[in-house]
């Protein structure tokens, strides 16, 4: 006589076996699967999940940090832009101020140079006038000397006792008058 299982097997073989499935193998595979599943759930999945979780957290933190970094970078760029703009404005103001000062210095130097040149010209003119006057006086002196010397020579040659007597008589008349 057949046991129930054998009967079931025979009956099943008649049912499932008719579908081409080996029940024993199926059960064995199912148990194996369950065992593997159990082992996996017991030892592998928690670690795997933990690892994945940790990686996800790390990834999220990285993203967050990246976002923060991007924001910080943006803020830094804005700040740098502001600083650059400020520095440029300050540099422009300094340049304008320097240009203004340079114009002032140039104008002052031009004025001073003009004044100095005027003074130099005035002094030179005065010196020239003095020199001309000196030369004029010198020339007059030399001319007078020449005239006197010539007259003296002529008088020595031409003057005699008679003309001298006439000269003295005229002088006495002048003295008496």
């Amino acid at each position: 006589m057949l046991n129930p299982s054998a009967q079931f097997a025979s009956s099943s073989s008649s049912g499932i076996s008719s579908l081409g499935v080996n029940l024993k193998a199926f059960i064995f595979q199912l148990v194996t699967f369950l065992l593997v599943l159990l082992i996996l759930r017991r030892w592998v999945f928690p670690k795997l999940v933990a690892t994945l979780e940790s990686r996800r957290d790390a990834l999220e933190r990285s993203l967050l940090q990246a976002k923060e970094t991007e924001e910080a970078l943006k803020a830094a760029e804005e700040k740098a832009d502001k600083l650059l703009h400020k520095a440029r404005a300050r540099a422009d103001a300094s340049l304008a101020d320097a240009a203004k000062k340079a114009e002032g210095v140039i104008a002052s130097a031009e004025s001073s140079a003009t004044e100095r040149a005027g003074q130099v010209i005035k002094e030179a003119k005065a010196h020239l006038d003095q020199e001309r006057e000196r030369l004029h006086q010198e020339l007059r002196g030399e001319l007078a000397d020449l005239v006197v010397r010539t007259t003296e020579k002529v008088l020595r040659q031409k003057l005699n006792d008679k003309s001298d007597q006439a000269l003295i008589e005229t002088s006495l008349k002048e003295l008496k008058s």
Binding site: A144, L159, N160, Q165, I168, L172, L175, K176
Partner: protein, 130 residues
């Protein structure tokens, strides 16, 4: 003892000359004073001072005439007359000197006055004016 000044001696000498004391005596007296006070070198100056005193008192003008040529008698008399009138003195003594450097004309010098009418002076004035 202080020695008398030259001005005082000149005044004394002039007074004595006007009083018509002999010139030699006066000269001896004044000479003694100069020698005593060791001022022999002042003899010429004393003579000049006496001439100044005499002219100042209207007595005599010792007149020096400097010319390039000798002066005629008429000219001398004319000059004497002029000096008497100009210096207001009773008599004029002329001392004529010839100096070719004056070129022409005459220079009349007394103790107190001088009239220079020489050509040398005229030329010097011209030179100055230039």
């Amino acid at each position: 003892m202080t020695s008398p000044s030259r001005r005082l001696l000149a005044s004394y000498g002039a007074t004595q000359l006007i009083a018509q004391r002999p010139v030699a005596e006066i000269a001896r007296e004044l000479g003694s004073v100069l020698i005593a006070s060791r001022r022999q070198k002042e003899a010429d100056l004393l003579v000049s001072d006496i001439a100044w005193e005499l002219e100042h008192r209207g007595q005599t003008a010792n007149t020096k005439l400097i010319s390039a040529f000798p002066l005629t008698q008429s000219l001398k008399e004319e000059i004497q007359s002029f000096v008497k009138q100009a210096a207001k003195v009773d008599s004029v003594i002329l001392d004529e000197q010839i100096d070719k450097n004056v070129l022409g004309g005459v220079r009349i010098e007394t103790a107190q006055h001088a009239w220079d009418k020489t050509l040398a002076r005229a030329l010097a004035d011209i030179r100055k004016e230039f």
